[in-house]
């Protein structure tokens, strides 16, 4: 897969620059990383050309024509919705505990922990309720206060996130990597926002 990426595999400088080109054209690199890439591009015509080609490629993909639904889409949809009832009870206003929960949990983590289907939610809750005490007990002296963030151990979160995360394309490494990546993404998300 990676073979075609490197026109000059002897040059490790090329390799390092090319690994970063995609994020470079998105302006996602740190100032220092971007400077390193630029320094290489200034000295290496082959990588400079790759950078130009990549930039153009991205622009072409982003400029592909967009398509929308046909004219009768809404009428057809509402005809179908007439025969459908939303399932589940109407949500009640958030209780005090839920509100605290909301503030204590980063958005990314809560989304990752929320499986899509009703069955998934039930299974997730049961597994989490089952897993938490076990994991907490293993960590000995931590108490399980409903408010203190320190009571929710990283280990417990890792476990729950790993259960909730599954790759629809059946990526083999997903189960192991998911927990780490989602936790990491909480930090990276704020970094990314700064970068934009």
């Amino acid at each position: 897969m990676a073979m075609h990426l490197f026109r000059d595999p002897q040059h490790t400088g090329c390799l390092r620059a090319q690994e970063r080109l995609s994020e470079y054209v998105d302006n996602r690199l740190s100032a220092r990383q971007a400077w390193e890439v630029e320094r290489h591009l200034a000295a290496c015509p082959a990588c400079a050309q790759m950078a130009r080609e990549l930039r153009t490629t991205v622009a072409l993909v982003r400029d592909l024509p967009r398509y929308d639904t046909g004219e009768d889409f809404m009428a057809r949809l509402h005809a179908r919705l007439d025969g459908v009832e939303p399932t589940g009870a109407q949500p009640r206003p958030m209780g005090l505990l839920a509100q605290r929960w909301r503030w204590l949990w980063p958005e990314r983590l809560r989304m990752a922990l929320r499986p899509a289907s009703g069955l998934g939610i039930a299974a997730g809750v049961i597994l989490t309720l089952w897993a938490m005490p076990h994991l907490l007990r293993e960590n000995g002296n931590r108490s399980m206060s409903p408010v203190g963030t320190s009571a929710v151990t990283p280990e417990a979160l890792h476990y729950s996130v790993a259960l909730a995360a599954s790759d629809p394309f059946e990526d083999p490494a997903a189960a192991n990597l998911a927990a780490h990546a989602v936790l990491k993404s909480v930090q990276e998300e704020s970094d990314a926002k700064k970068a934009h």
Binding site: M1, H4, L5, S22, E23, M50, R52, E53, L54, T56, T57, V58, A59, L60, V61, R62, D63, L64, P65, R66, Y67, D68, T69, G70, F73, M74, R76, L77, R80, L81, V84, P86, T87, G88, Q90, P91, R102, E107, R108, R110, M111, R114, A116, G118, A165, S166, D167, P168, F169, D171, A173, A174, L177, A178, H180, A181, V182, S185, E188, E189
Partner: protein
């Protein structure tokens, strides 16, 4: 400080709350807000206009059915793309077992219907590259040749404008996997398009 994304999410939340209380007009508004993006994404994924329309319908039917289990603080955008993605995955799996190969180039057709589907403001932005039909066709052909996983990540990122983090939530993938797929998708596209890019950019 409210970001643009924050404002969108706030407006979405209000609509979702109303839709959860059986307000069909609010759900209608949600559909109008998202159907273009969802359709474009599904169509670019499965490349069959009629089926893409059906899957877009199905996306919103499922969203309507389970709207009450949707948590208002989450991203409606991410949720809808996740439903759509799962429908596409099922569809592609079925196609692989039943239909060998169908015409994949609806987008290149000059038919009246397809011409009407073009969103006109594409031509209004002076910054945009002037792309001839030939090059558009090559980009689409190169996209089609990408493995599904790479194409999906690229479509969500570069065509639909989702963030790495949103895509990780849509695909239920680690963030590192998302980054890697986008990187490899772009590299493969650049590789295939390079012969046609001389003098551009």
């Amino acid at each position: 400080m409210l970001s643009a994304a924050g404002n969108v999410m706030h407006a979405d939340s209000a609509l979702v709350l109303r839709a959860q209380a059986n307000d069909r007009a609010a759900f209608n508004e949600i559909v109008l807000r998202y159907k273009g993006r969802i359709f474009n994404y599904i169509y670019r994924t499965i490349r069959h206009a009629a089926d893409a329309e059906d899957l877009t319908q199905e996306t919103f039917v499922r969203a309507y059915q389970s709207i009450r289990s949707f948590q208002v603080r989450a991203s409606l955008n991410t949720w809808l793309f996740r439903i759509a993605t799962n429908l596409c995955i099922d569809y592609v799996r079925k196609q692989k077992t039943h239909v060998p190969a169908e015409s994949l180039s609806c987008a290149a057709d000059e038919s009246e219907q397809d011409a009407q589907r073009d969103i006109p403001d594409a031509a209004l932005d002076p910054q945009r590259l002037l792309i001839d039909k030939e090059l558009t066709h090559r980009v689409e052909a190169a996209l089609e040749q990408l493995p599904e996983k790479l194409r999906t990540a690229l479509l969500l990122y570069d065509v639909e404008g989702l963030s790495y983090e949103e895509i990780a939530a849509v695909l239920e993938c680690p963030l590192g996997t998302v980054k890697s797929r986008i990187f490899h998708a772009r590299a493969a596209l650049r590789d295939r398009l390079a012969p046609y890019l001389n003098g551009m950019g």
